[in-house]
Symmetry: C2
Subunit: 714 residues, 2 copies
């Protein structure tokens, strides 16, 4: 009864679906559903369709008792509700009686129901009930679902999703992806269920809905999972003859070509450039100039000859040279006309700062500019955005204040408010960035375009994105899966909760996806998810600073036992594990710490120790190649003041880096206000360090680990 | 079959326990356990003890089939394992056969087992299986437990605990306190089980273990819960004839009298005072003097006549006047002798800064000073601490730097490192405190003593405590339950995770309690729990600033829709709910915001609005008495710069306060670095505000709400 991998009789399914279509139905009967399962190697119980009480009794006798009997009617979907199911039928006589009773109940439930007959089905013995299903999501397309059956799971909503098609690895990860995963491994001495059999069913359902996009929903519920196999006891399939089309896809090359010109332009036009203080077109001009942009700047304004020392043009069409990107700083109502001119000028990108489109109810206006963009192949950023920054070009194409501190991380936000918080935090924390981009209404350019650009942008080593929805979740997941293999992709998905999602939908008019789907698919795509804005910013700042760990052995070295305890709690929260010391390593650490210092991990060097003790233990942690990452807990004392600790730590870490040994090191500093300066010093030297905080350093390390695991680097 | 509340036949239980004791057993037989249940109104199925196969058949016939049959033997605890249980016995003949089979299996399992007979028990029909139990915890004493039965719960560990005796309210809260609580309310159209019946069983078990401390464990598993009642199908009771004694309890008066002298002394002796820079005895003297303490300071040092301008004494016994507290700054080995002198001088408190006691393995040394303390009635703070601060007296009895910024919150820490983080954070955030106290090894004074002091300390309005263990969890819970009715009590319990607990135990030699027990009991005691150090500090800073909310209607007013979404997510995480607007209120808000602003809650005033819009909407939020709390989301624009927003908000809030309308208001500020200054300004004006952060403002508001609910104020 093992599901056969790869069984795939497409012709059989096609002919069944054609019949369903001819009948103008949108659901399959039980026998049809069974035939589809058969065609795709999904094991189902023995069964037969009986058209009379005697036929039912005969079939039941041939497959052996007990049997389950169920109404077959295209007009009755909820069989139990209709009194159309009787279980535990244990003799031929009982089968006859059951037949009559089921038909009578069904007629009573729906007098005009077309009754095909009664299905007689082998009743399987005790097994673990699970559910395998598939749904069609507006943003992600086909998704496959897995969960435990039964009432508890219904209450606890313990289900996990993956994008279809799901690989064998994906399918197996689903079995571990539910809270109650342990049950499948056998509890109270029970045998584990067959992981292989379940994974095959998941894979086969996933292939089925991928092969036939018109199958909108599959519900195998329950599936009986046993040590020797798994059987789908009931299958329900729905079809949608007009499945939603995927949004228009650009090829990777097209995206890269356009985005490189937009993000790294040699010539920028400012439409609505102005000399007047306080105008957006004035701020954009000033930011371009004061930000240090070295390319050509073309102010466009029908009523000016010169703006801030630059020759102004009436239209982009009057500009002599090529233009890579046009930044719009004009009211919404003028955008369409100016955009058409950009199209005619063959400008590949428009940065649409103006608001007044879909977010204010002007959906038609947004559709109009989308159409112009498509007609002329002008990619649109926005509308309703603050613009963007690209520091390697010293480019501040925004009305916000200039920001030009270069670094490895690129950030984006769907919301302008969040964008302002990114800018403020970056400046305050002296966080270098490669880019900050506002996406706003996402009339065209969205997260997958940006990711595709950042993937090949040598100045970007990590990406952090705030998003409220994904117009094309599937495209994002596909790109993220590829990009996250080489660069960490961190996401704050707002609208995580039902309330938040409601706020998101009132805010952008976009339907926020079900969060569990986002959570699972983002994980499947190797994305690191931040729980909140502050965490996204902390990850964006800390993760790119850390080298990639080479293994799971994390060690805490702390001067304060109390920090050791809190850091240990954080280690568990961050999904990390503390290394278990082999005897020799324990002895080696003990040599450096007072005799009453606790042995094992955390290494508690005890309070009041001189700099040398920190130095020796950190050095040992870096030198021993069985150790892969260090978490330091510092305790402010007169003997080892904060800056002494910071300098010695940076020195030791740099010494090892020079020798080619670069392990992630993070630090938590407990002490008086001097620990703030010490933390900054450490951060500047590649050691994410935080004062008065035992959680963030470990969370940042945990995020790096999650990425490295997802990318297959450890 | 409803459990009868208040049924309580103590004599019956006592006589059963005496028999068990006489037999030198530590467990009750099934019939004994049943009799105990009967005596305490815990419903059990009909049953009889059969000593022969015929007797079994007769009993079974009289109670009706089916029956369950079980071995009765004091030597067999795990009956199923011994083959000693047969279910579904459905005829007299079957009962005879079952009797013989059970006895044979039991003998095979344990040949020398004393076999009393076989219990015949009514077999109950389908019901929801739950578990009710009681355990004895080292720190908390008797605890009562409730959970769902079955394998899923075993895997998901969905159990909740309360201190026994549990009130009716506690018992009912347990039914809602499990993750799968919904199941008890009936799912898939099922009827809800009787909450009354379950609560009565919980209460009765709780009364039982409280009346008989020697009953160390009760395990009613399963209890069958039905719409019309609940029955304990199996009961297992263990006894411990030497139950651990509770630690010595001081009366509330005793604690208050001693703690008031220690924390608010008129005269302080410094044992080991020193003129020598770098010595702890020197730092303590300087801090006392420079901190501004106005009471008498008596340096004690056998080899000095004067220290830092103060006359020095060879011994505390030479000091002419009364001394309230002696601060020890001498090596561990000299502590005992000096402490004896303190006792002879009748000093009520000793602050033991020295390390070198239990934390370094010197358990005997710690016991010695504990004994001296008890002999002379000197309360001991520490040892192994940084000392303490009490700002209303300008008292810095510590070797750390002086801190004298007065405020309403008192903080304590078990760990010195965490204490240093408290001091640093307080100074950095300009957080006023009433006290900061180090508890270290807690040889004597612990959290409940401190809480008892803070309860009656008029300078303290809230308490925040870091702890790794509770030597007397029951005492703490009792005091916290009382104190939290009037002052918020916030706790960071380190060693939350298994790893953390292990680190805690290696660090202090104290066994960290099971975290689920801590979590439930702290909640039962009205304590607000912080998840990490940074959260404890944020709670300590923000919660005392907020007025108590008068109801659950929370409203978000935001200039950035994006913040509105993130703040909504935070609202759910913090256990708050957004008010559903009645039509008139929605209209009222809409009057102030642009037509495209979203209606409902969050109130999205949209970006780029002038100060007036913030002002009008905040004013409306404060004026309408259906609204109980405001969360503000600010978006940095040129039109309403950060300080303009901060000032107008503070002004409106203060205007309403002056009119007696004081609602909690928190703010999240998204913008460039100027939002930091604006946040500080708001905080100074009683509005906890945070830059680049949509989580902390709401978490702080949520903590205030949790407290207010626990205290019965909303």
């Amino acid at each position: 009864m093992l599901a056969e991998r790869g069984t795939r009789d497409q012709a059989a399914v096609r002919s069944i679906l054609e019949r369903v279509k001819a009948d103008n139905r949108n659901s399959l009967t039980a026998p049809e559903a069974k035939a589809v399962c058969d065609a795709y190697g999904i094991p189902v119980p023995q069964e037969a369709l009986a058209a009379s009480a005697d036929a039912a009794a005969k079939s039941a006798e041939s497959m052996g008792f007990p049997v389950v009997m169920k109404i077959v009617s295209p007009d009755i979907l909820h069989k139990t509700e209709a009194g159309g199911v009787i279980v535990g039928v244990s003799s031929a006589d009982a089968a006859r009686r059951a037949y009559d009773q089921i038909v009578a109940s069904a007629k009573k439930y729906k007098s005009d129901a077309k009754i095909v007959g009664v299905q007689v089905q082998q009743q399987l013995g005790a097994a673990q009930e699970v559910i395998v299903g598939a749904i069609s999501d507006q943003s992600f397309g086909k998704l496959i679902a897995f969960g435990l059956g039964g009432v508890l799971v219904e209450v606890l909503k313990d289900v996990t999703f993956r994008l279809a098609p799901a690989s064998r690895e994906d399918a197996l990860s689903m079995l571990d992806g539910i809270q109650a995963a342990e049950i499948l491994k056998g509890v109270r001495g029970g045998e584990p269920v067959s992981r292989d059999a379940l994974a095959s069913i998941i894979e086969n359902v996933s292939t089925l809905v991928t092969d036939f996009p018109e199958i909108s929903e599959v519900d195998l519920n329950p599936v009986f999972a046993r040590p020797d196999g798994a059987t789908a006891v009931d299958a329900r399939l729905l079809v949608d003859w007009n499945p939603p089309a995927r949004p228009k896809q650009h090829s990777r090359d097209e995206i890269v070509r356009a985005m490189n010109r937009i993000m790294r332009p040699d010539a920028v036009a400012v439409i609505g450039a102005s000399s007047e203080e306080g105008k957006i077109g004035n701020s954009v001009m000033k930011n371009l100039i004061n930000g240090g942009y070295k390319g050509n700047i073309y102010p466009v304004n029908p009523s000016a000859d010169e703006i801030l020392g630059y020759k102004a043009y009436k239209s982009v069409k009057d500009v002599p040279g090529e233009i890579d990107v046009a930044v719009f700083a004009i009211p919404a109502k003028f955008v369409a006309a100016a955009l058409t001119e950009c199209g005619e000028k063959k400008i590949p990108g428009a940065v649409l700062i103006p608001s007044g489109f879909a977010e204010t109810g002007n959906v038609e206006g947004q559709k109009e500019i989308q159409a112009i963009g498509q007609q002329y192949n002008v990619r649109l950023m926005g509308p309703n955005i603050y613009g963007f920054y690209y520091t390697p070009k010293h480019l501040c194409a925004t009305f916000c204040t200039a920001y030009d501190y270069q670094g490895k991380v690129a950030l984006s936000s769907q919301s302008g408010g969040v964008g302002m918080a990114i800018i403020g935090f970056s400046r305050s924390a002296k966080m270098g960035v490669s880019a900050i981009v506002g996406l706003g209404n996402k009339a065209d350019i969205d997260e997958d375009d940006l990711l595709t650009f950042f993937e090949q942008d040598e100045s970007t080593q990590a990406v952090a994105m705030h998003m409220e929805d994904l117009k094309d979740g599937r495209a994002f997941a596909e790109v993220a899966k590829r990009v996250s293999k080489t660069k960490p992709v961190m996401v704050l998905k707002a609208g995580r909760t039902a309330l938040g999602a409601k706020a998101a939908s009132s805010h952008t008019g976009a339907l926020a996806g079900d969060d569990k789907v986002y959570d699972d698919v983002l994980r499947q795509s190797g994305v690191i998810r931040a729980r909140g804005l502050r965490e996204l910013l902390d990850f964006a700042r800390g993760v790119p600073v850390l080298p990639t760990p080479k293994g799971e052995n994390v060690v805490i070295i702390t001067g304060a036992g109390g920090s050791g305890v809190l850091l240990s709690d954080s280690v568990v929260d961050a999904g990390l594990t503390l290394m278990k010391f082999p005897a020799d390593l324990d002895e080696a650490f003990k040599k450096f710490i007072p005799p009453f210092g606790a042995s094992g991990n955390p290494v508690d060097i005890t309070g009041g120790e001189p700099p040398k003790t920190y130095q020796n233990t950190i050095r040992l942690g870096l030198a021993d190649d069985r150790i892969h990452a260090l978490i330091l807990g510092y305790w402010h004392t007169i003997v080892t003041p904060p800056m002494v600790f910071a300098k010695l730590t940076a020195e030791v870490v740099e010494e090892f880096r020079a020798r080619g040994i670069d392990k992630p090191v993070v630090a938590s500093l407990a002490g008086d206000v001097q620990v703030e300066e010490a933390s900054e010093y450490l951060f500047d030297h590649g050691i994410p360090a935080y004062p008065y905080n035992c959680e963030t350093p470990v969370a940042v390390l945990g995020a790096k680990y999650k990425w490295a695991r997802g990318a297959g680097l450890i």
